[in-house]
């Protein structure tokens, strides 16, 4: 079956530009997570949704970062006025609800380079 997909896979932005990163979760998965991964580091939590509700956005590094999931399926992570420190891989993951089994399945990520 189809896994989590993300687009674009690569994005180069000039400092100050706005970018939008898209995530298509596994069909039927109610939870969706965004992580940021710097080179040589593990993923770090940014924000997550259960259906369309954003339950926690405490990991967003600044108010330039905004995420939405208006219909409880596709999600968009938007970064306004990009800075060089925003360069990283942005990973999306989804998981189904139920029991104690809540493995998260990751997409391939979007590599953002801010020049």
């Amino acid at each position: 079956g189809a896994g989590v997909s993300q687009s674009p896979r690569y994005k180069v932005a000039k400092r100050g530009q706005d970018v939008a990163l898209r995530c298509d979760p596994i069909s039927g998965h109610v939870s969706l997570f965004w992580y940021q991964q710097a080179l040589g580091q593990g993923p770090e939590f940014l924000t997550y949704f259960q259906n369309e509700a954003q339950l926690d956005k405490s990991g967003l590094p600044s108010d330039r970062f905004f995420a939405e999931r208006p219909e409880g399926s596709v999600s968009t992570l938007k970064i306004q006025r990009t800075q060089q420190e925003d360069s990283a891989v942005y990973l999306c993951a989804s998981s189904s609800r139920g029991g104690r089994t809540y493995e998260q399945y990751f997409g391939p990520g979007t590599r953002l380079t801010v020049t």
Partner: protein
């Protein structure tokens, strides 16, 4: 603050040379411990979830074990295709479907 620490940072093995990767955690309570594999340019791929001390799970040449304070990923007779970064993670919150806290990973290289 909950933390997940992995060691070693990098490991180089000859093909067939068995070894273990370590993951120690200071999260309060035991709510599950996750292992993922990540290949360059790809997202993490789920391997195992462990919930209780003493639990073990196996997949091909990999076996994950869990104690009250740490987890081990044992690799038996590794092959070059096992080369990857192995990530360990624990749930951030004490409920289902929570964000994960990841360690920095162990970069494994298996040389033929």
């Amino acid at each position: 603050e909950d933390q997940v620490t992995q060691s070693p940072e990098a490991l180089r093995l000859q093909e067939g040379e068995s070894s273990s990767l370590n993951c120690s955690y200071t999260v309060s309570g035991l709510r599950g411990l996750f292992w993922y594999r990540q290949d360059p340019g790809k997202g993490p791929e789920f391997l195992f979830t462990l919930y209780s001390a003493g639990e073990e799970k196996e997949k091909e040449r990999l076996k994950a074990t869990l104690t009250k304070k740490e987890s081990f990923l044992h690799i038996t007779a590794p092959k070059p295709e096992d080369s990857a970064t192995y990530l360990c993670a624990a749930p951030l919150l004490n409920s289902g479907n929570t964000p994960l806290v990841f360690g920095k990973g162990t970069r494994l290289s298996v040389i033929a």
